[in-house]
Symmetry: D2
Subunit: 304 residues, 4 copies
């Protein structure tokens, strides 16, 4: 498969002009991003890297980071994790308190905000230095020490994150949060502030296309049956209340973030990341979704 | 892969005694089924059939039939279909009026009852003899003329199906139903009353693992890009509000029915059907889900 | 109290020009009404009638009729009635299926559509000729034989009333409807089609201000403790999801209809009806509510 | 009317043995109360006091205090108050986040927790020493300096009040809270911790039966039109999601608290308070409601 040629086709046929959404505006740092940014990177084997555009520029990965913290929590808790968070699509906007109320404080899945906050609680509870350990984990699977939190973004979200603080307090009232509110929120916003490029994201997510092992050095990060489940979760829950649409159009497991990034994987074939900061009304990168649909259409293969 | 050996392992290690749910009771005909029934059939290539137990006994396929009528509606309407029904997981019990009310009469997906009733409306609207044509379609893709409606089940559901009648009237009030209520309901309950064996279901669903072609004679039924989308829909919406759980545990696209049947496919590998009438509280065959989980665990492969 | 002077003040200070809503449009017969119509009638003792404007012109009383059928059902069922319908404000738009679903088919109160349909079911179940008996009852308490159904309105609503048909079927599925759907709906739409003038409504509702007796002849229609409860229901549930607003602004028990009528009573003082067909977004007569607020402000008394 | 005789009848015919609910358990101080406590006090004119049982023992008035803070907020804000809180019955349990989410942070009424927290925000925003000023106000209208906060109850609620903290943060996210979270919560829990006897409550609430004036010294506290509105709010919203039931059975405006107190008024006749700590499943004093129903049945008058 000539992946570079396919990516070049996508690059030449698509641009930010084709989409009508808006850059995320709820924190000033995200609102400042140039809406014309567009990059994509596909990684499919040792030293097999293909990309275009702004694929090496770092951006705020936001909710994509929830996959990393979920891996760490699964490694710590094993199957017990699923007593505190479910594995079903949410069917509601990504920050719904309503659903949480109806379901007694058990978030619908680990990728909605409530679920990611429970995961944060677990990591804060079990790890000595959760922020440092998350950074180490991401650097390890990416094989790249040049990944950092963006403290400006982290504090900006923290100062306005009343809804997330409400979620943590509410789940604490319902008995599903153990630690203090402050360190959970601090960890959560730092996690979301991670800055990575498409190339780094594609490298990091290769473990999900490679049965849990770092491709370049064979290091085992997770057992294959855990990888299968994380992929299943990305397939059914990775795109807020647009997971069905992404499955339907793209046909790959993936995860998006309000920074405009999307990463997707085809097990045993490749991992791919795309970045365009213009979001549709569901909060997913509009151009990113189209680019990935084009990718699976042009390659003619998806998991389905 | 020695599929027969894997199926034999499943057969010997699992039985109806392992599960604690109940046979569907809302219509007398389903309530009468022997809860000990258990059969499974895997089909992976011309004349490559593997099975055990009651795999050749016919049962009421119920909601599994929704995949057949969806295929017909997609062939008739093309992309326009998606203006009348969405492709997102429901996140609510399979017959929720609440969600429909919140979303102006557009059902969340074609596999919840409301969505299947819109599909029924489309077929009743466009086809001369919708019941006969559905039967022909199913016989054609199965390569088996011995498939019939169960008139007793159809009338039994019809006489007590007030909730479905409510759904059709409600969507008519919201402008998403065109035909009269009576023929839609008549078609819907006939479709659900189809009787097929695991072997027949595995043969019928092979088109979804074979890019839209009947395996045995190469006849093209649907275009591959439509097949990809139906598979995506089965993955995210095929199990009522347990779609995430099925993806998570089994990792294949599939569809269940309250008759206790489940069919799943692994694209380009196999299609498989299992039957055990004892349902869990979400309305899916409890033993069926366990058997399929065992299958992907023992084979070591799933779409993820 | 010089009621005529107070009414004259209301008449001179208020008109349809002061309000910005719309005449009900969902059935053609209601949409045709002249939006400038405005009438009011207050009745406070034998031959003590005060009014202005179109107070003697008949209009479609719509949901105001629900109070009449409730009286009949209470006389038939006594306390048992409350096993089939609750007495709480709905907190949701007047035709909500959502709430019904959450509460197992028990409507929140007898004045939302679902509740009124349960009342219809009861009357159809217990009475030989429910439509005739309702008419007799209304004529009896009004002391006026010149009250009729409007067959055009009744059939017009019936032919488009899919949402109400949905409600009845849905409650039948949940076990709270006993009769066939057709006669219930037929009765319901006839009841809503009753045509009465403000003067007739004020006379009819005097029984609720007079401890259950017809003022002019002393005939006992209902026991005082039942009257107290109907008044309480009008106070908390008489105005769809604007009951709080009406209590807050007007401070009297009352009932509105989408034909633009509102009737209210002050126990042991008076009953009053007002008509202006322009509705606010909650479905209540905008000018009618303002006129009644003015009335309790100018008289200086309300139940509070 | 011989009120003492009526109260004696209630006392002799009713006791805690007739009810099957439970004392509030969510804070230790409330859980410790003797469930056999039962007192009632009616006040209907200068020096006209009638009572029985534990009517002079102080208890935690909890949500009854929301009427006092509402009065203060209405005196400060006037009509502008209603831009920040609505006047409709909630139709949902008293601490529902769901409804708040659907209605953009505007609480349904000032007596549900969310509404009372907005009132707290207003008082904290406008008053120098809100806790002291509330205490002064309550002492003034009661004509009794012997009323205090219970610091143990206040801190006990504060340490476990995650749900209320969630509510404030959530409304802050939605733009309906201006002050810091901490002082709002501190004021709110102090307000709820007020300890008063039935006699004191009856005296305090006499202003609502006396057009806004302190009965004993004629001091004007509020304008009559504001009193009318507070009474209307108590009538439609004073009993969580059981307001309809209370109106229906008792027929008076009133307010309950989870400490087991209920206070009700009959405009221009009397104010009455009752205390029995056993709550029904809606959180209202079971025996208290029965006693008040008996009162309006035996007196034969209610506002309806």
């Amino acid at each position: 498969m000539n992946y570079q040629k396919i990516l070049d086709t996508i690059h030449s046929e698509m641009s930010y002009r084709d989409v009508g959404g808006k850059v995320a505006s709820y924190i000033p740092e995200l609102a400042k991003i140039d809406p014309r940014k567009f990059g994509m990177h596909l990684y499919c084997g040792e030293n097999q890297h293909y990309g275009f555009g702004d694929s090496e520029e770092k951006f705020s990965i936001q909710s994509i980071s929830k996959v990393f913290s979920l891996c760490m929590a699964m490694n710590i808790m094993g199957e017990d994790l699923w007593e505190r968070v479910d594995v079903e699509p949410s069917g509601n906007p990504f920050n719904s308190l309503t659903q949480l109320e109806q379901e007694n404080g058990i978030p619908r899945n680990p990728f909605i905000n409530a679920g990611a906050l429970v995961i944060s609680d677990i990591l804060v509870d079990h790890l000595e230095n959760p922020k440092e350990e998350l950074l180490s984990f991401v650097r390890q699977i990416t094989g790249d020490a040049d990944i950092e939190y963006d403290e400006t973004v982290a504090s900006s979200e923290k100062s306005t994150g009343f809804r997330n603080i409400a979620l943590v307090n509410y789940m604490k009232a319902l008995g599903n949060i153990k630690c203090e509110v402050e360190p959970i929120i601090d960890f959560y916003f730092h996690q979301c502030s991670l800055r990575m490029s498409c190339r780094q994201l594609a490298k990091a997510f290769m473990i999900f296309a490679n049965k849990g092992k770092v491709l370049e050095n064979g290091e085992k990060i997770m057992r294959p049956e855990i990888v299968k489940r994380i992929n299943a979760l990305m397939q059914t829950c990775g795109f807020y209340d647009e997971a069905g649409e992404f499955s339907f159009e793209v046909g790959l497991p993936g995860k998006s973030g309000v920074g405009g990034g999307i990463v997707a994987i085809h097990p045993e074939r490749y991992s791919v990341a795309v970045w365009s900061p213009i979001l549709n009304e569901k909060g997913n990168s509009e151009l990113g979704m189209k680019a990935l649909e084009k990718l699976t259409t042009l390659t003619g293969v998806s998991v389905f």
